[in-house]
Amino acid sequence: MWIYEKKLQYPVNIRKKDLKMAKYLLSQYGGPDSELSASLRYLNQRYTMPDDKGKALLTDIGTEELAHLEIIATMAYQLMQGATIDEIKNAGLGGMFAQHDSGLFPTDAMGVPFTTAYIETSGDHIADIESDMAAEQRARATYEHLMDLTNDPDVLAPLSFLRQREVVHYQRFKELRNYYLDNKI
């Protein structure tokens, strides 16, 4: 089961409205390599891990990704606070507004709705962990693209935190994969 903590894993206090950045951030909310995809991917794959190392790591990282999803949602929410209709239209979020008003809805940065097709589960633990390593690398690259798109320190700080988490997760997945291969598991 899960217990809610009434705090973010990393604080978000964005002072400057930026609707375009909010739109770009949706890549990590409901895109293919988003925090939502990552969380559901690991939490589905954990059932077919061969030992305690794999079950623990996928449970713990899958849980952490939910905390990251909340950070991304918070950033998008704060970046859109107080937006006018014209600002929403100019940022290319008019279609989003028509369907969801300012409610958060998981799509990618181009408005493509989240799909479970993003969740890679093969039932083969080596295939799964190697796809997880690749997913962490793609997410790291996405965070770098997002960091390229802003110079606001209020936005850069949490993006940098999240980018580093991808680096650490990649490392742990790589160690797990090597452990399985070295021990013929």
Binding site: Q9, A157, Q164
Partner: protein, 146 residues
């Protein structure tokens, strides 16, 4: 940096683990050292050899807006440090030094959470804090609110 926030207080929490060796570290990486909980937290990474800032020249300090956010920063830092170590321990479960460090950071987190909950209300849905009237769990701010 604002008046509420005193970085020197964090020195109290420096466990002097700058040359912390991790004997179970796998052969394809260098034995390295750990950041202290706050320095690791602002980087999103406790492990020095895994960090690079991408476009940030220096990591960005947390700037708590009030006493509540200030205390939360300590909780964030210690719970982050314990969490990052826990992922490591999932892979290297027989590393006694890292388990000891995990316990230390976890205990410090628990102590700070108790202090926070006494002052500002429950932080966890299953909080150990005594609940009074009115029901404090639902009270703003929620994590996404400023």
């Amino acid at each position: 940096m604002n008046n509420y926030y005193d970085r020197s207080k964090l020195d109290t929490y420096n466990y002097n683990n700058n040359n912390y060796n991790k004997p179970m570290y796998s052969k394809d990486e260098n034995p390295n050292s750990l950041y202290d909980p706050y320095e690791g937290f602002i980087r999103g990474n406790l492990f020095k050899n895994l960090y690079n800032g991408y476009k940030l020249k220096n990591p960005i300090d947390i700037e708590p807006l009030n006493e509540q956010a200030d205390l939360l920063t300590y909780i964030d830092a210690f719970s982050f440090a314990a969490h990052d170590i826990s992922l490591y321990l999932d892979i290297y479960p027989k590393d006694p030094d890292m388990i000891q460090l995990f316990n230390k950071y976890k205990n410090e987190t628990n102590r700070l959470v108790k202090e926070y909950e006494n002052k500002f209300g429950p932080l966890f849905a299953n909080s150990n804090a005594d609940m009074r009237v009115p029901w404090a769990w639902s009270k703003s701010p929620w994590p996404w609110e400023k």
